[in-house]
């Protein structure tokens, strides 16, 4: 286990965020996507590239050496640059590395960037396969979890699909989202079934995009004259990998453990959360993880969702960006994009998807394997 936490080190803040819209695969090189996000984040923070001390790039599908071949076009300053691959959590782990480096005092300003284009990514071959591994694609894995959840808690397929309705509504208000069209429950249910009760709009789109976050120390805020009111504190960074949980769903149990560690670091509870972004690659996941994080008890998420508790304006806005389901899941950018959304929400700059009075947010990603990364961000004024 880890012997120290972010809370043991000096405070760190997100000072700037920037995105390239998530969208279907285009001819645009990844370099253009990434630079768009970084330049936007620098402008947002009021920082120059020469102020940046290090760079971490989350990417799973670009191939080797993605960082410097892109970032040199901002000026070849010679700073350390590293790619981070942690499956779907690649961007979240890149952000964690930036936070740890600044918190440790090794850097004053660190760039966390996620950039990817769809490609034939494959997991490292272990030589061990189950009976049906070649048949059980992610949609089927989660269709089985949906079936189990509905059976155990007396929840209907429509109640699960309602996650997609909420997240498409949020995504329709997010100019960076890949899916920006509101959908009715009827529309979601009428889409072709992919696996079990999961229809196409209950499965996330995998496209291209980029997301950037600039992590700074308190010293950098003063030295570089940044606006403290637009700096959001990072008060927890937790990362764990799967243990054995008997016959319980491993992603859910891993999320529960990792969230517990994040709450201890930040000194908060789930009841303090105003905005949450979860790994909702499939609709059922949002219900499972809302419960695992502790927003409600087991089997309660579907009912609370139906009553609007997880809407923007509800008790805790879940996936206000549209989540993976509507904003999209370009892999490398996804975790950093969550940080951008939480930062926007805590600054009060989220426009017509703003959660009123948001002060505390949580970003949650899982990577196949499985790993889980959770960050807590807070307004500290």
């Amino acid at each position: 286990m880890m012997r120290g936490t972010l809370a043991d080190l000096r405070p760190v803040y997100v000072a700037g965020i920037g995105l390239h819209p998530y969208r279907r695969l285009s001819e645009t090189p990844y370099v253009r996507l990434g630079l768009t996000a970084v330049r936007s984040a620098l402008a947002d923070a009021g920082l120059a590239w020469t102020d940046v001390d290090s760079a971490w790039t989350g990417t799973a599908g670009l191939g080797m050496a993605a960082s410097r071949r892109m970032l040199r076009h901002l000026g070849a300053t010679g700073i350390p640059m590293t790619q981070v691959e942690n499956a779907s959590a690649s961007g979240s782990s890149a952000f964690r590395q930036a936070c740890l480096e600044v918190a440790a005092g090794l850097a004053d300003v660190s760039l966390a960037l996620g950039v990817d284009k769809p490609s034939r990514v494959r997991a490292a071959p272990t030589g061990v396969a189950g009976l049906a591994d070649r048949l059980v694609v992610p949609a089927t894995h989660f269709a089985l979890l949906a079936d189990e959840y509905m059976d155990r808690h007396g929840v209907t397929a429509e109640q699960v699909a309602a996650v997609a309705v909420k997240n498409h509504r949020n995504g329709s208000r997010n100019p960076f989202a890949q899916r920006r069209k509101e959908r009715t429950l009827q529309e979601v249910m009428d889409e072709p079934a992919v696996s079990g009760t999961l229809t196409r709009l209950q499965c996330c789109p995998i496209g291209e995009g980029a997301a950037a976050a600039l992590v700074v120390s308190g010293e950098a805020v003063e030295r570089l004259g940044l606006d403290p009111a637009r700096c959001v504190g990072v008060t927890a960074s937790a990362q764990r990998s799967e243990r054995l949980y008997g016959t319980a769903d491993p992603d859910t149990e891993l999320t529960r453990e990792t969230a517990g560690e994040a709450f201890r670091q930040a000194g908060i509870t789930a009841a303090d959360l105003d905005v949450v972004e979860v790994h909702d690659a499939f609709s059922i996941e949002e219900l499972l993880y809302a419960e695992a994080i502790g927003l409600c008890g087991a089997g309660e998420a579907a009912g609370l969702l139906a009553r609007g508790a997880f809407d923007v304006g509800g008790r805790c806005a879940v996936s206000p960006s549209g989540g993976l389901l509507a904003m999209g899941h370009p892999i490398g950018p996804t975790g950093v994009g969550q940080i951008a959304e939480i930062t926007r929400q805590l600054r009060g700059e989220a426009g017509d998807r703003q959660q009123p009075g948001a002060r505390t947010g949580l970003a949650h990603m899982l990577g196949v394997g499985a790993v889980c990364v959770i960050h807590v961000l807070q307004r500290l004024d």
Binding site: T126, G127, V128, A129, G130, L131, A132, D133, R134, L135, V136, V137, A139, T140, A143, L144, L145, A146, D147, E148, D151, P192, A193, V194, S195, G196, L244, T247
Partner: protein, 136 residues
């Protein structure tokens, strides 16, 4: 070209001709796992695994009818089940018909896959119809 479904190295037949799954029992902590692998025990890290055979019977935990699959060699729809084996592990496999949580299932070995003479392991509930070529 092998069939995209069968994993014939993972199962065989027991002394009475019944299908069995090739599992592993950890010599250090007794954990029973499936599939067999040569690397070490997830519970305790011991590299001493003893081959064992698991009864291919259990209870359906969840089921999903798959309507779309990226591999064109795999005909859709087909049914995937999570099965809690009577011998312990929770595994996933193909069901020959339709299934729902709580169903008792038993595996059978059936021809009819993409490779002639290769028997595929499919779970079936006692009432579900035999697949192409009949049950084992």
């Amino acid at each position: 070209m092998s069939t995209p479904c069968a994993e014939p190295a993972l199962y065989g037949t027991g002394p009475g001709g019944e299908p069995v799954l090739y599992g592993l029992r950890c010599a250090a902590c007794d954990r029973v796992s499936f599939p067999r692998q040569p690397y070490g025990c997830e519970a305790c890290g011991s590299a001493d695994g003893l081959p064992c055979e698991l009864a291919a019977t259990g209870t359906v935990r969840a089921a999903a009818e798959v309507h779309r699959h990226h591999d064109p060699r795999v005909p859709v729809p087909f049914t995937i089940v999570s099965v809690l084996l009577d011998d312990g592990p929770l595994i996933r496999g193909v069901h020959a018909g339709t299934a729902r949580a709580g169903d008792r299932v038993r595996a059978r070995l059936e021809p009819g896959g993409a490779v002639p003479d290769l028997l595929e392991l499919r779970f079936a509930t006692p009432a579900s119809p035999a697949g192409p070529g009949g049950g084992a």
